[in-house]
């Protein structure tokens, strides 16, 4: 037995809105828009003492083959607005919002996060994503102005600029002393100037320093640049590797980059997305998991999914037949637009080759192949099995915890909260009560001291 103390597991809940794992056809599936669904989901996560609730974002409805994609859940609320409302119906749960760095401006986003942090008393987090495509850009003033290779330089500067704004108030400026008439102790509160390639701005930030100083920063991007971006400045990664081997590799890689940025191992949490299917017994869960997969991947869905890799129209193919013999079209994906997932197939020719081999070896149809190779459930089993698996992966440094994505909205977390969480608590690897009030407290992250900005240059 190892003498290493047990790591504490971090758990979070991804609201199951737009994604390709939601089983909307299940009679138990409710609205993904009504605020009641958000309340139910958030309050379940808080009852289970989860670290935070997580919202994804996509700024354009997905299109495929020139038409709006209609097979998955479509539609989601505005991230900031729904998180601010959720702050009213929860007390401790962290509130993590995905906000794009390409189609926003630092002053506005910093203001929104500082406000959310105030209104939630220190529970705000920002998942910085860098989707840059001109398809999404068509919804914005600036349009598709950013070349792909610049997405992280803008993201880095965006974050650096936001940090300058967050730090432009140090937290001691407000006296609010009615007697003496001193509202501000320091007239320079909020003064900033920031010049970089992407941003040339100056003035006064108008939100005082918030409880966490800065929101917790997440990163979700898997390229070399994405990993460096995370190592340099993120507090946590929303990753995609939920298995032992892939998780350990990713974990070691990213944590290994920290020292190069003068940071320590504990300053970045690795939290992969994870799905789960919970049953009374392992056998029942496996059966259920199979059923869920069949509901997630219909014949039509399978063909559409294959098109992400092939980047061409495959509608003439039979989902119950063999994989296409034609090769994928290499280059920018033009058939599926607005999908983050298409970017994970960095070498479509190799992927197609592997899939054909696998399908041939196991005699799989297109649909069966897709069921087997995509979005397989991370955890399947009884509560005891799932608790065991989660703990094993965390103690083995494949992750610091997981962001769970249930396949039913909004009740998909209920069973997990009621049966898996107590088992983790019994093992002493998950909190039974929130120890602190802020999300930084939950994640064991220090609250950053403001870095004083250089005085704005009066000459300019």
């Amino acid at each position: 037995m190892s003498s290493k103390p047990l790591k504490q597991i971090h758990l979070a809940a991804h609201f199951p809105g737009v994604n390709n794992t939601t089983v909307w056809s299940d009679p138990a599936a409710g609205s993904h828009i009504d605020f009641d669904s958000f309340i139910h989901f958030a309050q379940t996560a808080e009852r289970a003492k989860f670290d935070f609730l997580f919202l994804a974002e996509g700024l354009r409805l997905r299109e495929q083959g020139g038409e709006i994609y209609d097979l998955d859940v479509v539609g989601r609320p505005d991230t900031f607005t729904v998180l601010a409302a959720l702050a009213a119906v929860t007390e401790r749960l962290g509130l993590t919002g995905t906000i794009n760095s390409t189609f926003n401006e630092p002053y506005e986003v910093a203001r929104q996060f500082a406000t959310l942090d105030h209104l939630s008393q220190g529970r705000a987090a920002w998942n910085v994503v860098t989707s840059w495509d001109s398809f999404t850009g068509e919804n914005f003033r600036r349009g598709g102005f950013l070349p792909r290779e610049d997405r992280y330089s803008r993201a880095q500067e965006f974050l650096a600029t936001a940090n300058v704004l967050f730090d432009s108030w140090n937290g001691s400026e407000i006296a609010a002393d009615a007697g003496s008439g001193t509202f501000l102790r320091d007239a320079r509160a909020g003064a900033f100037a920031h010049r970089s390639r992407h941003f040339d701005i100056e003035g006064h930030f108008n939100v005082p320093r918030s409880p966490q100083g800065r929101p917790v920063i997440f990163q979700a991007g898997d390229s070399e640049e994405g990993r460096e971006f995370a190592a340099a400045g993120a507090d946590a990664i929303f990753g995609r590797y939920g298995t032992l081997d892939a998780g350990r590799e990713f974990y070691a890689d990213v944590k290994g980059r920290l020292a190069g940025h003068g940071r320590t191992h504990d300053q970045l949490k690795i939290l992969p997305a994870a799905t789960f299917v919970l049953g009374d017994t392992d056998a029942q869960a496996r059966e259920l998991a199979h059923e869920v997969r069949r509901l997630q991947v219909s014949g039509q869905t399978a063909i559409k999914y294959l098109e992400h890799v092939w980047n061409r129209d495959l509608s003439a193919y039979d989902p119950d037949g063999p994989l296409p013999e034609v090769d994928p079209l290499v280059g920018e994906n033009t058939i599926a637009l607005g999908r983050a997932s298409v970017r994970q197939f960095r070498d479509p020719l190799a992927t197609a080759r592997q899939w054909r081999e696998l399908a041939r070896a196991k005699s799989l149809s297109i649909r069966e192949l897709v069921i087997r190779t995509t979005a397989d459930q991370t955890f399947v089993g009884s509560a005891a099995t799932i608790a065991e698996s989660i703990n094993t992966l965390v103690q083995a440094d494949a992750a610091d915890g997981f962001i769970l994505v249930p396949h039913i909205t909004p009740g998909g977390l209920d069973g997990f909260a009621d049966s898996v969480v107590p088992l983790l608590q019994e093992r002493g690897v998950f909190r039974t009560e929130y120890e602190g009030t802020t999300l930084r407290d939950h994640l064991g992250l220090a609250t950053p001291a403001p870095v004083p900005a250089p005085a704005p240059d009066p000459a300019s």
Binding site: T81, R141, A178
Partner: protein, 393 residues
């Protein structure tokens, strides 16, 4: 239906919330809680107070620069409230804690993306179940523009308002870009939505173009309520073209009549004359048991602030009875409601809800209870049809 001239429609009342109140020394008054201006509890308390007074809506004032008494930049003053929270988020934060009152945050069109604003207000409508609006405003401030680095002053007034009108047009098209019944969850065909009921909006304007559709389904009200302040021809044109509520800050009856006439003319020119448009008087109030008490309080506040409060604006000092008289008189000049700005929120907001409102109720000029669950409902506005929906065959 005919409305008898002896009992005109009841007044609509809204209250504008900003910091500790309109007066620069408001934060120093008893009960002002200046250290709590950046907490949810403060705003929740104000919203609850406004709701006990059955007010139609609250506006949350906002801006993308630090408050200043100077138009050219921060004034460096340390004796006034500085700093404010984002208005849309603040409105969303109080939405689950209120039931009936409308929530109308200010939004600066000059520096924001209409796509983001559209989904934010749609979401405010979803989380409040139909009580969202917005107050669209422009900013000609050079120091504010430099927070964004996207454009530089000077801006032509007309240009900013024309851009704001485009902004609203995009917002509105995006609200309609989902038909109400676009979500079908048709298990038989495997389709979650009917893509025939989702629409690209294809807006092309001078300043930007937007493709759509929205990522957020159509809000409960269909179209949340758009409001804007009127102060000159360019802003009148924006109200006429884009708003359901316009705020008029005239000082007296004549000024009010002139502004109302100008906006109505502009409305006719847009071809929207048949669509309902509320014009609200915009008035700062210092409300006390009697006029001398209110005047004395304002004097005391002015002494604290070191400068007299802008008397040439639309400012009222006096008793609830006198304020009721004034509002009813101004109504006759063509207004259907008022946006009241408490001089000192801690004092004047409860004076409005507990003094003015009962006075108006006694005169049969204000509601006795909330008669609707949505802001449009409170304002007597129908839920609009979707511009993209094909009429039923």
């Amino acid at each position: 239906m005919s409305v008898s001239s002896s009992s005109p429609a009841p007044l609509h009342l809204a209250v504008a919330l900003d910091g500790a109140g309109r007066h620069p020394a408001a934060w120093r008054e008893p009960g002002a809680r200046p250290a709590e201006l950046f907490t949810a509890r403060y705003w929740a308390g104000l919203a609850a107070e406004a709701e006990t007074g059955l007010l139609d809506f609250i506006t949350f004032e906002d801006g993308l620069a630090l408050q200043s008494s100077s138009p050219t930049g921060p004034d460096g003053r340390t004796d006034r409230v500085r700093g404010r929270l984002d208005a849309v988020l603040t409105a969303a934060r109080v939405a689950p804690l209120t039931r009936h009152i409308g929530l109308v945050p200010a939004v600066t069109a000059t520096h924001t993306e209409p796509f983001h604003i559209s989904k934010a207000i749609a979401t405010l409508d979803h989380v409040s179940r139909g009580r969202a609006g917005l107050r669209i405003q422009v900013s000609e401030l050079d120091h504010e523009a430099r927070h964004f680095g996207r454009r530089t002053a000077p801006f032509a007034d007309g240009e900013l308002y024309a851009e704001a009108a485009d902004h609203v047009e995009v917002i509105r098209r995006l609200w309609d870009s989902w038909e109400d019944d676009a979500e079908i969850r048709d298990v038989a065909t495997g389709r979650f939505v009917d893509r025939e009921k989702l629409h690209h909006i294809d807006f092309e304007g001078r300043h930007f173009s937007v493709r759509g559709p929205s990522i957020t389904p159509r809000p409960p009200q269909g179209q949340p309520v758009v409001s804007a302040a009127g102060d000159g021809e360019a802003s009148y044109a924006l109200i006429a073209r884009s708003a359901e509520v316009g705020y008029v800050a005239a000082r007296d009856g004549d000024g009010t009549r002139a502004a109302v006439a100008a906006i109505r003319r502009a409305r006719e020119a847009t071809g929207l004359a048949a669509d309902p448009l509320h014009l609200f008087g915009d008035l700062t109030v210092f409300l006390d048991a009697d006029a001398p008490a209110a005047a004395a309080r304002l004097e005391r506040l002015d002494a604290l602030a070191g400068v007299p409060y802008a008397r040439d604006g639309a400012v009222f000092t006096g008793s609830p009875g006198q304020l009721a008289d004034l509002l009813l008189e101004r109504r006759a000049a063509g207004l259907s409601g008022f946006l009241l700005r408490p001089g000192v929120i801690a004092h004047d907001l409860p004076a409005l809800t507990r003094g003015l409102v009962p006075e108006l109720q006694r005169r049969g000029a204000f509601r006795q209870e909330y008669e609707a669950d949505t802001l449009r409902g409170l304002l007597g506005l129908d839920r609009p049809a979707n511009r993209y929906a094909r009429p039923a065959a």
